[in-house]
Symmetry: none
Subunit: 436 residues, 2 copies
Amino acid sequence: MPTSHPVVQLLLTGNEIMSGDTVDSNSAMIAQRLAELGLVIRRKVTVGDDQALLREEVSAISSAADVLIINGGLGPTVDDLTAQVLAEAAGVPLREHAGALAHLKQWCARRNIPLNDANFKQAMLPRGAAMIENLIGSAVGIQMELNGCLLICTPGVPGELRPMLDPIMETLSKRFGLSSRVEVVRLQTFGMGEATAQQIIDDGVEQWPESVALGFRAGAPQVEVKLTISGPSHRPELEYCKQRIHELLGSHIIGEGDIRLAQRVVELLRQQGKMLTTAESCTGGQIAAMLTGIPGASAVFQAGFVSYADQIKSSVLGVDQDVLAEHGAVSEPVARQMAQGAMAAAAADYAIAVTGIAGPDGGTEEKPVGTVWLAWGSREKLQTRCLCWPVERSLFQTLIAAAGLDMIRRSLLGVAGESHYFFQRGAGQIKVPGAE
Amino acid sequence: MPTSHPVVQLLLTGNEIMSGDTVDSNSAMIAQRLAELGLVIRRKVTVGDDQALLREEVSAISSAADVLIINGGLGPTVDDLTAQVLAEAAGVPLREHAGALAHLKQWCARRNIPLNDANFKQAMLPRGAAMIENLIGSAVGIQMELNGCLLICTPGVPGELRPMLDPIMETLSKRFGLSSRVEVVRLQTFGMGEATAQQIIDDGVEQWPESVALGFRAGAPQVEVKLTISGPSHRPELEYCKQRIHELLGSHIIGEGDIRLAQRVVELLRQQGKMLTTAESCTGGQIAAMLTGIPGASAVFQAGFVSYADQIKSSVLGVDQDVLAEHGAVSEPVARQMAQGAMAAAAADYAIAVTGIAGPDGGTEEKPVGTVWLAWGSREKLQTRCLCWPVERSLFQTLIAAAGLDMIRRSLLGVAGESHYFFQRGAGQIKVPGAE
């Protein structure tokens, strides 16, 4: 079994990628999975849906590389050319593939739609090619040999590509005698930017071990901190770094792996047997949507309220009309009463309430776009906070929704303090009347 | 002045792109700007920060293309190799460039930092090369000739690349005598898959004009149909195709350009001076979040309800407990009463109500995961429909939320019938009691 690392190249196809209509995130996904086997992509070529160009690239790359992963062009439409191109490059005809046809029939049957010509096209694979199962979509993957190179064709839809990478990694691992020696720890954080996290770690760890690679991935609203080692002999250094980062970032760490803020909140509520409700104005249902996106959320979340208008804040959540008139909808007492009203209406133990100005219109000099009051906690301990986060509307909504979830996470954990974001964006200190 | 279009290729460099730590959005930005001049990128190659590989690519591509745009590798660190590679490929030395040095001195002065060695490296350009101004960062762009090809080197930081593309487009426009001639029409549709849309157009248009390029972009929940022509002389064919597609896809077309379903619904409600409310169970706030994602939504959407639990359906939305007990939460009468209750509580003219089983748990033999009852319309005309869409939870939630918005869109437009999706996924016909 060969143990030297194979040369891997990537070929991406799609007019929508060349035109810039779509940003390619698939090659990042593929690269990350390959890294688990210690493989790096040597070179990546991207071309549009052009049959001659594609054929030329397939021929050239297959002669130079040990593995060529092709992404895109497996769909049902006329501009999906991959199978055709492979057949031409290999000098074999397209044949109906029994497994692919069975997959397509089943896929159509599950959707109660007839197998049309466009879909049937997806059952035609180059003669001699094997199919790779697509657990989600209609387009099966294709695996074949050309010029001594292993060709692997994958679908362009990210949700279909993701699960297909499991059997592909297994194939590569077997064929080239690779085993995953790389170990990765990923820590999900909320409440500080990438640069801040980097600075805190740089300042806090004097002798960072060379064997541990440190990386960051900023994705609103979370920032992932990634530690990578090349093999188990470096585990002590990995453990050391992980521990130091836990000390340095502390309560900003949500958890390990892929965990999302809402998922952690649902977990904590389940463990404590508590119910949460939401009263949202400027986030307009995003907190509820984040929570109910988690399987099993119904055990801890029974009701949410989107109270965009003042009269709904009164009629549904029982916010005092005089308070609304005196303080305005974006105010501390209104956020507080929204939370209390939601807990009463939903018979919940905890609430998150949000009232603010998402923009682009609606700001005033006193309360500019980006101003928001949050209230969170239980009947016994309801806290409030004013933030000012003047960013583009949808980012504002995402960040404020996450900020609300983060504060409930901290409450449920009994963690004192607040995130860096709050410190930076705060227009007022946290208020805890019970503690005053 | 030459008028034939130059062959443009792109070379991207950066280990962070190859490893997947960074997703490349720069080439999309470049492609979109090139499209304004009617230019398409023929081929894009991406490699890591590897001097030999980069030199090889620069030599090969410059011999094949009229324009090579290089992105990345202009920074101050050791792995920024572009200038060095260009000098080697051209067989010229690196020389201190007066303009680049002046730029660096000014850049450092503005930041009150000394010009260090790392930054000074950025003033060394291949002999004979011209600089392209960087309005934001320290790294100037580089422009030079190699093998009869125009080489243009741009910085990898998106915020620095963006303004630099203005003078670059001007250079290309002058050199190749180009002006913006390409015209694009994009139609947003909901209610049929990419394959179905393609099939309907294939079947419906016998003689598709060659001058009009047809493309599809599937993005849950919408599918974009894109028509492109290379210049104004093909406008009659473009108009013809657009008209035929309107006839064929009919009410599945939401609108032109970038429009989203929720945006169209907000527009229609504004035009008609009507208010909408939502009562969501399995979509958990997603419909509300889609609506409130649209600036100005507050004029037509004042309140939404997430009623995950049965008792909330009763206490907040007034759903009859006997009806709940008899028919279950996922049933036609419950969906109907949720919509009616939401309209009453929110004093709204229209409602969308959704109650279903998002999974992965909670299904039964009679009502499997993916079963959902929708109710939509006004007090006078409230329609209901059962669908069965057994897909992964988050996709289910997105598609059902969109389906609800689409039915209100159809109601507001007075459009009869339903989408292909409903036809395929339907577990029962639309019920319009008023029409029975």
